[in-house]
């Protein structure tokens, strides 16, 4: 057997460990969640686990927190996407051409992405948004306004601001990279023909950014659906259920109320939701893989 085909055979075995590990990681816990979602199982109540069919799902869907969790998740994901994508595009276009200090500006702009979520949340909550001594309160007072009590009056908006700050750099980073492959001659041609800044942006830049934008939206959606630490360290889902997202609701049912059955039913719902988004993302990525 030649060296070449021997290498090819050996190569097959190199994929196996990764595939097996990921297969186990994906199927075992998911199968367990599926099983738990059909039994009566509370960590504080010992005894046999009885099969209850869809009861957990019915309880989960009819729980008043479910509606709150669902709508809060949509608001958080939607608002954050809107903020990060719009600002991200504008900033990526703004810093596309060389200017003095561009590389430092870039470093400053992407920095929030590397800050751990718990630091991010607590710095915003205390140093900036505290209604008495926070920096924003100082700003309000210096222009003669009453400071906003962020986490009491507008808790969801506060979370949205915190999360957007963390994810804006992601959008900037991706779109900035995508801008570099934009054909400069095409831009130049459009300008010579007398197209204004806005016209160039709409007819040349935006179409070029269509695919990267789709990628940003989908990847962010997948991560934003699972936002947890920012809520855990600031509001704990409150006041009431005002900042309880689907992810936080499932966590609180599992590890605060110990209702494994209901939390598992919720977990399955979350998996199904994420899969819908993932389906589209994988199609986009698959196309780029096939295009190579």
């Amino acid at each position: 057997m030649s060296q070449l085909s021997r290498n090819a055979r050996a190569a097959r075995f190199l994929v196996a460990p990764s595939v097996l590990l990921l297969l186990a990681w994906m199927t075992v816990p998911l199968a367990m969640t599926l099983y738990y979602s059909t039994v009566n199982f509370n960590l504080t109540i010992p005894g046999p686990r009885n099969f209850v069919g869809f009861e957990n799902y019915i309880f989960f869907f009819t729980d008043p927190s479910f509606f709150a969790g669902m709508s809060n998740t949509i608001v958080l994901v939607g608002a954050t996407l809107l903020i990060t994508v719009v600002l991200g595009t504008l900033i990526a276009v703004l810093i596309d051409n060389p200017f003095p200090g561009r590389s430092l500006v870039r470093i400053l702009l992407i920095s929030p992405f590397f800050i751990m979520p718990t630091v991010n949340a607590l710095v915003w909550k205390n140093l900036l948004m505290n209604p008495v001594s926070g920096f924003f309160a100082f700003l309000s007072k210096s222009v003669g306004m009453t400071p906003i009590d962020w986490f009491t009056d507008v808790p969801m908006l506060s979370i949205i601001i915190i999360v957007s700050w963390q994810w804006l750099p992601f959008a900037i980073l991706i779109l900035m990279t995508a801008m570099q492959s934009l054909d400069q001659e095409q831009l130049e041609a459009a300008r010579i023909e007398g197209a204004g800044l806005v016209a160039v942006f709409i007819h040349v830049t935006l179409p070029h950014l269509a695919r990267p934008l789709a990628v940003v939206v989908m990847i962010e959606t997948i991560f934003l659906l699972s936002i947890f630490a920012e809520i855990f360290t600031t509001t704990g889902g409150g006041p009431g259920t005002q900042t309880t997202t689907l992810a936080y609701l499932i966590y609180s049912q599992a590890l605060l109320q110990y209702d494994v059955g209901m939390a598992s039913a919720g977990g399955i719902v979350a998996v199904v939701l994420a899969n819908i988004v993932a389906f589209f993302l994988i199609r986009v990525v698959g196309k780029s893989l096939a295009g190579e």
Binding site: P17, L128, W165, I174, A254, V285
Partner: protein
């Protein structure tokens, strides 16, 4: 207005605008670092003091009282070990799929990507119970296993795209010379793609260092990394802003520097090669 002045005006506007936006975005980090050098009284004062006598007292307190080094060491061990493991397991897989693709390769790649999209809350209960029953709850080993698995798809994808960029001729030549698989990887491929491999490692490190879902839910004290230490500041007593800032600055500083170093390469890993 002639063309030259128009250009100068435009450049000035872009420069000023960009710097303004950058300053706004970076402000919370700047403010955190500044606060970490204030006394607690100063940190809490309103209006905030911009000019003050800097103190290192907070850093001292953080080091002494909150057992900072134990948490930091946990973060270091967990993120380094899990990243090394993801590289060791993922590199051979990426190699095989990049250079010996079969009819199934594309499907396998996409399937690996799809495991990344499993929301953590969907498997919170079983992972928690499995960790508890196997004694892995609140251990570094438990977190290392999970982080290795959640970063493995990203690592494989990123290395795969770097391997795809390697000119085919170089590998052909070395195979014709009769190099074994190991020689080919060790002496040809790894040196050529060193830059890409290090960025892959850095991205994995950054993601593990900042991961806060599993670290908050699966650790209590003995294996708790920095994410959990900072979270413990959310229910404080008394004056604590300056100390929170000091602990936070220490926790984010190393990873912020790694992020700056690898920023240009991160896009590939973060978008699974869909944007390069």
């Amino acid at each position: 207005m002639n063309l030259h002045t128009e250009k100068v005006v435009k450049l000035t506007m872009v420069t000023v605008g960009s710097w303004l936006v950058a300053a706004l975005v970076f402000f919370p980090i700047f403010w955190m670092i500044l606060t970490s050098f204030k006394t607690e009284l100063n940190a809490f004062s309103s209006p905030p003091s911009l000019f003050f006598w800097p103190t290192l007292e907070n850093y001292q307190v953080v080091f002494e009282r909150s057992d900072y080094f134990r948490y930091a060491w946990n973060s270091v061990v967990i993120s380094f070990v899990s990243s090394i493991m993801a590289m060791v397991i993922g590199l051979p897989a990426a190699y095989a799929m990049a250079f010996y693709p079969t009819a199934r390769t594309q499907g396998v790649m996409l399937w690996m990507l799809s495991t990344k999209m499993l929301p953590p809350v969907g498997v919170l209960v079983p992972i928690y119970l499995l960790s508890r029953d196997t004694g892995l709850l609140d251990t570094r080993t438990g977190l290392v296993i999970i982080y290795t698995l959640i970063n493995l798809p990203i690592v494989i994808w990123m290395i795969y795209t770097y391997f795809k960029d390697v000119p085919k001729d170089i590998l052909e030549a070395c195979r014709m010379d009769g190099a074994s698989l190991w020689q080919e990887i060790r002496h040809v491929l790894v040196p050529i793609t060193m830059g890409g491999l290090s960025s892959t490692f850095l991205l994995s490190l950054i993601l593990s260092w900042n991961e806060a879902f599993w670290s908050l839910n699966l650790t209590a004290s003995s294996a708790a990394p920095l994410t959990a230490l900072i979270a413990s500041y959310s229910s404080p007593e008394g004056l604590f802003w300056a100390k929170l800032s000091a602990a936070s600055t220490l926790a984010v500083a190393p990873i912020l520097v790694f992020g700056w170093i690898s920023q240009k390469q991160l896009v590939r890993g973060l978008t699974f090669g869909a944007v390069k």
